[in-house]
Every structure is written in structure tokens, then in C-alpha cells.
């Protein structure tokens, strides 16, 4: 095994010694035959293809199913580190919910002058239909993914909040299954917290959010379904996987109809009421009567049923506003305003290009900063100054000057690395982490683990799967 460079490596310290989190793993690794590991590595893809864990990519010719590359070296977090992270995540998710409630009710935070009104007035994810309405149990973000990055032993930052429809949880689960299939002995040597009960936790959490109509119905168990745009959606595998694992129905818009004031599913024995819908369809498409009238993916009238307490929609329409990077830049204020505490997990320093001073600074330092679109996602539409060409910077400068409020900028963080398995042995690559958080009236539940995304290209900081990123199994060690 080799040591790494100047970046913070999670496995090895500067002297090339193994950090405590990885002691057990490295002891196991050093005993394995390298040829055998190579073979195992080649088998991993096969196993993913067989299970069908693919995402769809639509090219010019025909649909193609791709795998997200999987790296077989786990990313390990110790129990104390994890406890610290969960406290910070809980605080943040609590604040996000309070913020959403406030935003759609009295807007105290704006009255208090802590967040400017224009932030959401101009935001496409803001839904006027949600004003004055409280979702069942007061929960807006039933399922949240908080993207974290690390820069040092005790330095974790929140990079993004995914309150709309965080995806990727099926990879957290399947990566673990694959690892256990590949290296069963490893798990008997290293005590790792299980992630496999996530679907059960999700089912329980969703059931706990059943709407008032369910309570009045006298039925024993709420009917839960995952609403998917259909088999051609890039994340269909995940939708089917989650429904299957939860024992919930997997529905499309065409399976649902409003009958007798309730959203009902067309089953083989007639229409059956649906109580909680975990929708993986965007706000715009969820109800053609309320939003995009051309949408075939949604359910006409579902918003009326929702507002009358007939169904729970998870996540609540209008939560997507929290994914906005301009809102993100106010998260420290938001956390403090609603919890009365300093944020336990800091934001990455962020310049809002809408402010003149910040814009001037950003324009002067484009070659050192990462500039992102406020509504962008998936690693698209961003500039990574240090690796961009002069021409790219020049072009980006024009876009930025033309529409500054559409951008924020952040310093180029020196993301931590975790080794991946290569033909030449272990090699450090940059990683991030997305833990999955479930919110219900019974509390906030964080599964110990998450999705570690890894930039497979040497030196690259972009971990998005659409841009050559892969994934790793994420281990939280037991105490």
C-alpha cells in the first residue's frame, strides 16, 4: 500500500500510516491475493448487470442502459465521527422543515430580515398553491439527502441539500449487497452498521405520515405507493427497487384517478384508495390540472385531494426550493433562526453573485473558484476555475455578467480522498457523501451509511455519475 499526496486522505495519514477507521479493513486487504482481488473487481460489474442496477441514457439512436461504476474499496466512517455528523444533519433537516413551513405560512424569517424576499419570489420551485396549507404531520421533506464533503480530520461541510427527490439510495443498498456477496469474510472481521433495513424504515416513516382521511377510514394499514414516471425514466430501477423492498405498489400516473374525493389505484379488483404517495415525479408534472396541463405523468386533481387531507405527498410539493443554491447560501442564518443554535455542520463559503461586492470578487477570481448555477444540478452548467481553460473561463464570464443572480461561487475545496482499486493497486480519488434522512412525525431517522460518490479520474473533483463518477460502499463502524 502506498501513501498519498497533500490532500486529506481518509485511509492514510501524511506518513503513509493507516488511519484508525481503516485499520481492520487494511489488515484484511493486505492478506488478500492481488490476482484474486483483480478477478473480484471484474466480477462486480457482472453482478450489477445481472441484478439490473442500471440507469437509462438516451442517445441519438436508442436507449442504452449503463452501470454506475462501482469501486470495491469501502469508504469508512468511525462511530464517533458518524454521531457528530448525524447531530449536524438532524439539526439541518429540522431547520429545513421549519423553514419550509414558515415560507408557506407567516414568513417570519423574511419579516425578520434574515432572508430576502426575492429569493423565493423569483424561484421556480416556489409553489403559490402551497401557501397557507400544512401537509399531514407538518412534514415537508420526508426524504432528504444531505451532500457532505470533507477536507480534514474534523472538517466536514454541507455542499448541497437535496430536499426535492434525492436519488441514489438503491446504490447504497446494492453496493452493500454486492460487497457482502464478494467478500463475506470481510464482514465477519469488521463490525459494520447494517443499511439493509432502510426500505423498512422508509415504509414505516411514510406510513407514519398518513393523511387525516386515512385515520377516518377505519382501515388498519395505510396504502403506500411509489409514483414513477415509468420504465423509461433514468431512475426507474430505483423506483421499482424501493417499492419492491417496501412491499408498496409501484404506480404510474395512469394507474391513479381521483374517485369519490380520494386518489385511488386501478387494481384488478377495482379502485382502491391510496394514502401516501412517495412520488418520484417532479412538482410540475404531478397534477396537470394545477401545474403543467400537458403532463401525462401525474394525476389530475391530486392537489385538491391533497389540500383536503385525502393523501400525503412525499416530498411535499414546493420543497424543491431548498435545493436552490441561493437558498443554500443562507442556510447558516436559516439554521440559527429556527433552532436558535449555531449550525453544527458548516456550509461551504459561498459568494452570491447577486450581490455586487461578491460579484466583483468572483469575477476577479474566476480561475480559483467553482461557480454554479443556482438551480442547476448533476454537475452541469458549472465552472471549475482551476481546471478550466482560458476560453471556458472567458465564455463563463460572459454568462455570469449577463445574469449574475443566476450564480453562486465557492472556493475550490480540497476534497478528501479515499483510495480506489486499480490495476496498479490502491490510488486516492476524491469523494463526497450523501446520507439519507427520513422525516416523520415520529422523528428524524438517519440510516448509518449513505452513498459515497467518487471521481474516478485522477485529480478530478466531479463525482457526478453523469460525469464519470462512481460509487463506493459506505461503512459506519460499530462502536
Amino acid at each position: 500500500m502506498v501513501g498519498t499526496s497533500d490532500k486529506f486522505d481518509e485511509m492514510f495519514d501524511g506518513q503513509g500510516a493507516t488511519r484508525p477507521a481503516y485499520t481492520d479493513y487494511c489488515a484484511w486487504y493486505d492478506e488478500q491475493d492481488n490476482k484474486w482481488l483483480q478477478r473480484k473487481n471484474a466480477d462486480a460489474d457482472d453482478s450489477f448487470r445481472k441484478t439490473g442496477i442500471t440507469f437509462n441514457v438516451y442517445g441519438e439512436d436508442e436507449a442504452e442502459e449503463r452501470l454506475i461504476p462501482f469501486d470495491m474499496v469501502p469508504r469508512v466512517i468511525t462511530a464517533p465521527e458518524w454521531r457528530k455528523l448525524t447531530r449536524g444533519i438532524e439539526q439541518r433537516v429540522r431547520a429545513l422543515n421549519s423553514f419550509l413551513y414558515d415560507l408557506y405560512h407567516r414568513q417570519e424569517i423574511i419579516r425578520a430580515g434574515r432572508v430576502p424576499e426575492r429569493l423565493f419570489r423569483q424561484n421556480e420551485a416556489w409553489l403559490a398553491n402551497m401557501v397557507g396549507f400544512t401537509p399531514p404531520g407538518g412534514i415537508y421533506t420526508h426524504i432528504v439527502g444531505i451532500d457532505l464533503v470533507r477536507t480534514g480530520p474534523n472538517e466536514w461541510f454541507v455542499l448541497e441539500d437535496n430536499a426535492r427527490t434525492p436519488s441514489g439510495v438503491s446504490y447504497m443498498l446494492e453496493n452493500r449487497e454486492t460487497m457482502m456477496g464478494m467478500f463475506p469474510d470481510l464482514f465477519s472481521q469488521v463490525p459494520v452498521e447494517a443499511v439493509s433495513d432502510y426500505p423498512r424504515r422508509l415504509a414505516r416513516s411514510l406510513a407514519a405520515c398518513a393523511p387525516p382521511a386515512f385515520a377516518e377510514s377505519g382501515r388498519k394499514k395505510p396504502n403506500v405507493a411509489v409514483l414513477t414516471p415509468g420504465i423509461y425514466n433514468s431512475a426507474y430501477y430505483e423506483h421499482a427497487f424501493l417499492a419492491d423492498q417496501m412491499g408498496a405498489e409501484l404506480v404510474e400516473g395512469s394507474d391513479l384517478r381521483v374517485v369519490n374525493g380520494l386518489v385511488q389505484m386501478r387494481t384488478t379488483s377495482g379502485f382502491k384508495p391510496l394514502d401516501v404517495v412517495y412520488r418520484r415525479v417532479d412538482d410540475d408534472f404531478i397534477d396537470p390540472l394545477t401545474f403543467d396541463p400537458s403532463s401525462m405523468l401525474g394525476v389530475p386533481g391530486i392537489m385538491d385531494v391533497y389540500r383536503s387531507g385525502g393523501i400525503t405527498i412525499a416530498n411535499a410539493p414546493g420543497t424543491g426550493i431548498c435545493d436552490d443554491k441561493a437558498i443554500y447560501s443562507f442556510m447558516p442564518e436559516i439554521v440559527e433562526f429556527y433552532t436558535g443554535e449555531k449550525p453544527l455542520l458548516p456550509n461551504v463559503e459561498t459568494w452570491r453573485c447577486a450581490d455586487d461586492d461578491s460579484l466583483a470578487y468572483v469575477l476577479d477570481n474566476l480561475d480559483e473558484l467553482v461557480v454554479k448555477e443556482v438551480h442547476g444540478s448533476g454537475g452541469y452548467g458549472m465552472l471549475i476555475g482551476p481546471t478550466a481553460s482560458k476560453k471556458e473561463i472567458k465564455e463563463f464570464r460572459k454568462k455570469l455578467e449577463a445574469n449574475p443572480e443566476n450564480y453562486i461561487a465557492q472556493p475550490t475545496l480540497s476534497l478528501s480522498t479515499c483510495p480506489i482499486f486499480t490495476k496498479k493497486g490502491l490510488a486516492p480519488r476524491h469523494v463526497d457523501l450523501r446520507p439519507y434522512v427520513l422525516v416523520s412525525p415520529s422523528g428524524i431517522d438517519i440510516t448509518p451509511g449513505g452513498l459515497t460518490r467518487v471521481a474516478l479520474k485522477e485529480g478530478s473533483l466531479v463525482v457526478n455519475s453523469s460525469q464519470g463518477g462512481g460509487t463506493k460502499d459506505t461503512w459506519v463502524l460499530k462502536d
Binding site: 445481472k50 420504465i231 421499482a240 395512469s254 384488478t268
Partner: protein, 314 residues
């Protein structure tokens, strides 16, 4: 379960059965062509394509019949939208649709078979490879059915899949018989004479019944015996009588689970009356072709009624 999902299961198994039946038809044709001279082999391939119901389409894109063109047409030719590659794609698409109602074993059997076949059929199939392809298709069917029997709950999903299998199988056996009857026995006077035993042997091979028939009939091959075997013998799992009894049992189970009978159960009873206690003489009297046309029409009507009764479509 959802009507749409039931539809997915039903069609997943119809397409699986169709792919398998097409492979058997092709396999019988291959064997036949090998044992004939070039001229007759051409006739064989024409007959295989005709039986698969794609003659017009084939002739609009090909000038002549030869093995290579014929099996590629059946297996993978884009000019034929009902090629086996597409059928298997449809099996997988429907399995994805019904993913929450099939076990992982079934899904993996479908997915791995599809991966293997799709790969095999991504390039033209040579003479040397066609046998492999055909046996891979048959094995795929066996694997999926095996996983299905061994791992599925006996709930409505199970019965929708089974009824789809037997609707398709009944249709396939009836069509093969009808095509061959029409081609080989143009007038009633031929009935009973031992015509071309090779041709009838091929019919039996197309439905995987050659061995069973020989065993039951001590090698005596004639039209009457074969019709009796393929239509009325409920011991043979591809006979019309057997398919009917499976359809009936599965539809009855569905009615029990839903606490009510539907139009499909009614049509099923009508169809049963038509075939119960029938003798092969009576079939020949009314005309085998007429009998089969009526059978296929009833089969299609039952299929349609199932979709209606169980709300397959919005």
C-alpha cells in the same frame, strides 16, 4: 394488484411462450431442411416463415427462401418487428413493469437470459451458431418457468402469468396445426392416408411432442393420431385440451381470489362445452380448419375478456 401490473405479467409470459414456440418452430425447420435437397429445403423455409405468420413481410424484403435469411429474419431481422430478439426484449420490458410482483429469482432469470440472447443476436447468426441460439432460447424459457414455479407466491400475480402462458401456447399449437393442415391436407381424401411422415414429424417437433407422440403411439404416424394427440390428449402439455384445462384452473383461481366471476369465466365455460367429449371423428366431420379457427377465436376472446375483467388498461 394493479391492473397495469397484471397486464405486464400476462404479456411477459405470453412473449416468453411466443419466443420459445418460435424457437421450436425454427428448430424443427432446421432439422427438416438438413434432411432435404436444396429445392425442398426452400419449401421448408417458406413453410416455417408462413407458420410464424410472417410470410408477406418476409417476401416484401427477400427475393428467395434460404436458411440463413429465414432464421435471421425470425431471430433478429429489424425488418421483422416480431423477431425473437424483440420478443425477448418485450419479456424483459414487461418483467420490469411488473418488477414489484415477481421474485428476484424470476427477474434475474429474465435479465440474464436477455443479456445472453441480446448479445448472441446482436450480429447475424451463422449456420454454426443457430443451434446454440435456439437452445439458449429454450433454456431461457425453462429457467424463467423454473424460477417462477420455485419462488413465486401463489397469488393473483402467479395466476395471471400462468393464464398468459396457456393463452399463448394454445394459440401457438392451434396455429401450427392449422397451417400444416392447410398446407399438407388440401382435401379430405388425404385424411387417414400416410402422407409425408417427415412433415408430420416436423409438426410434432415444432410443439416438442415428437418423443411423447412416438411413445404413446408406438411410432404410428398419421393425421388422425396427431390431431387427436395435439387437440384432445390432456396428458400432453402443449395440447389444446391441456392448455384449456390450465386456463380454466387459473381463471377459476382468479375468480375465487376476487370473489366474483367475470366475462372471461363465462367465455371459458362456453369454450369448454365446445371441446368436452369431442372425438377426433367429430373434428374431422366439421373440418379441422373450421374447428381450429373457432378455437383460436374463442381463445382470443377469453384473452380480451381477461384484460377487461381485471382492468388491465385505463
Amino acid at each position: 394488484m394493479l391492473g397495469r401490473t397484471a397486464n405486464g405479467l400476462f404479456w411477459m409470459f405470453r412473449y416468453l411462450e411466443r419466443a420459445e414456440n418460435t424457437a421450436r418452430l425454427l428448430e424443427a425447420g432446421l432439422r427438416m431442411a438438413l434432411t432435404r435437397d436444396v429445392q425442398t429445403a426452400q419449401e421448408e423455409w417458406r413453410s416455417v416463415i408462413t407458420t410464424s405468420g410472417q410470410r408477406a413481410l418476409y417476401e416484401s424484403t427477400h427475393d428467395s427462401y434460404d436458411g440463413q435469411s429465414a432464421w435471421n429474419f425470425i431471430l433478429r431481422d429489424k425488418a421483422n418487428p416480431a423477431n425473437v430478439r424483440e420478443m425477448f426484449g418485450a419479456v424483459r420490458t414487461n418483467a420490469r413493469l411488473a418488477r414489484t410482483n415477481i421474485s428476484s429469482d424470476v427477474w434475474e432469470a429474465v435479465n440474464t437470459s436477455w443479456m445472453e440472447l441480446d448479445q448472441m443476436l446482436s450480429r447475424p447468426v451463422s449456420q454454426g451458431a443457430v443451434g446454440d441460439v435456439v437452445s439458449t432460447i429454450r433454456r431461457a424459457g425453462t429457467q424463467v418457468h423454473g424460477a417462477f414455479e420455485g419462488s413465486m407466491l401463489r397469488n393473483e400475480a402467479y395466476h395471471f402469468a400462468r393464464v398468459g402462458t396457456f393463452i399463448e401456447r394454445a394459440e401457438s399449437t392451434a396455429r401450427i396445426l392449422d397451417m400444416k393442415y392447410f398446407l399438407l391436407l388440401p382435401s379430405l381424401s388425404y385424411v387417414g392416408s400416410s402422407l409425408d411422415s417427415g412433415q408430420w414429424d416436423q409438426v410434432l417437433r415444432s410443439v416438442a411432442g415428437a418423443r411423447a407422440y412416438t411413445w404413446l403411439n408406438a411410432g404410428q404416424i398419421d393425421a388422425r393420431g396427431i390431431v387427436e394427440f395435439l387437440v384432445l390428449d390432456d396428458r400432453f402439455p402443449r395440447s389444446l385440451a391441456f392448455c384449456r384445462s390450465e386456463q380454466r384452473a387459473n381463471l377459476a383461481a382468479l375468480a375465487r381470489m376476487h370473489g366474483a366471476e367475470g366475462t372471461c369465466n363465462e367465455l371459458m365455460r362456453d369454450a369448454d362445452m365446445h371441446i368436452t367429449d369431442l372425438t377426433v371423428e367429430e373434428i374431422f366431420e366439421q373440418g379441422l380448419h373450421e374447428f381450429l379457427i373457432d378455437f383460436m377465436a374463442r381463445n382470443a376472446a377469453i384473452s380480451g375478456a381477461i384484460a377487461e375483467d381485471y382492468r388491465f388498461l385505463a
